[in-house]
């Protein structure tokens, strides 16, 4: 093949998501760290299936889940908790695999802060999730690049048929 091997490209992104919850900080924190609580909200959506291999929320502890469309547990997320400050912060790293292809490596910080004047009396909590991620792109051969162009043109089609501002 005349094409030199380029390998997979990497793209970096920082994702920041903020929310305010009508609940005290210790409940928000507990929702992240107490296994029974965590399992009640932190599950894949859209009818996807998941299997939890491990859930160990403490410094040095690991989570591991497999998930995917029904009948296809193709993705795996492995998390390692690096820093936990009660009622304040979780800091963890995680990788996502699609089969045997690494898709992303992330450093994620979850910050929990009382919203409102008196930290001891508030029932309002601000939450900030900051994820710094490296995403790996697997389109490193002509067929995949052609597929990438087709998908880009699909998106362009969709945008143009919507008309006006996107």
């Amino acid at each position: 093949m005349a094409e030199p091997a380029t390998g997979r490209s990497v793209e970096h992104a920082t994702i920041v998501v903020e929310r305010r919850f009508p609940a005290p900080p210790h409940r928000v924190w507990a929702a992240w760290v107490v296994p029974d609580a965590r399992g009640r909200w932190d599950v894949p959506g859209d009818g996807w299936e998941h299997v939890e291999h491990e859930r160990d929320v403490r410094v040095g502890g690991r989570d591991s889940i497999s998930f995917g469309p029904p009948g296809q547990l193709r993705y795996r997320a492995d998390t390692r908790y690096e820093d936990l400050v009660a009622d304040r912060r979780l800091l963890f790293t995680y990788t996502v695999w699609d089969g045997d292809a690494l898709m992303s490596v992330s450093v994620t910080t979850v910050e929990v802060r009382p919203a409102g004047g008196d930290a001891a009396a508030t029932d309002l909590t601000d939450l900030t999730v900051t994820e710094q991620a490296a995403f790996l792109d697997g389109r490193d051969d002509p067929v995949q690049r052609r597929q990438g162009l087709e998908e880009m043109l699909d998106q362009l089609d969709a945008r143009l048929s919507q008309g006006g501002r996107s």
Binding site: S9, E11, V34, D36, D137
Partner: protein
């Protein structure tokens, strides 16, 4: 054969994805990009099937490079062009999907917190 897309200006907004869309909204540039999916090419090789003047090809190339779809380098008198892998790749999709997934998870957290729960505390 590269598909046909309505050839009118994509509405302006900020962001590199729209730069890529604007770059691809031109059929000659789409032809050039399609050729480059098969591997690197010189400017001359890109120009040949387009029956277009070299300055015009270079102008299209400048748009593609400005959008980050293509990069080129000159060795001697030959300028060689190749696709930037990330431009047509899945990374941008995954970034959007990851953000959407956080929105979904935090919506679920909000729903969970809205339900009366036992006063559970962490072990620390």
């Amino acid at each position: 054969m590269v598909r046909q897309v309505p050839n009118h200006v994509v509405p302006h907004s900020t962001g590199s994805v729209d730069g890529v869309f604007r770059a691809l909204a031109d059929p000659s540039r789409r032809s050039m990009v399609e050729r480059l999916t098969r591997g690197p090419a010189s400017v001359g090789e890109l120009a040949r099937p387009l029956a277009m003047s070299l300055p015009s090809v270079l102008q299209h190339l400048a748009v593609l490079e400005g959008a980050g779809v293509v990069r080129s380098h000159k060795a001697g008198r030959v300028r060689t062009c190749q696709l930037q892998p990330a431009a047509l790749g899945t990374a941008g999709d995954w970034i959007s999907a990851r953000r959407a997934d956080w929105d979904r998870r935090l919506d679920a957290l909000a729903t969970y917190l809205a339900q009366p729960g036992p006063e559970v505390g962490a072990d620390g």
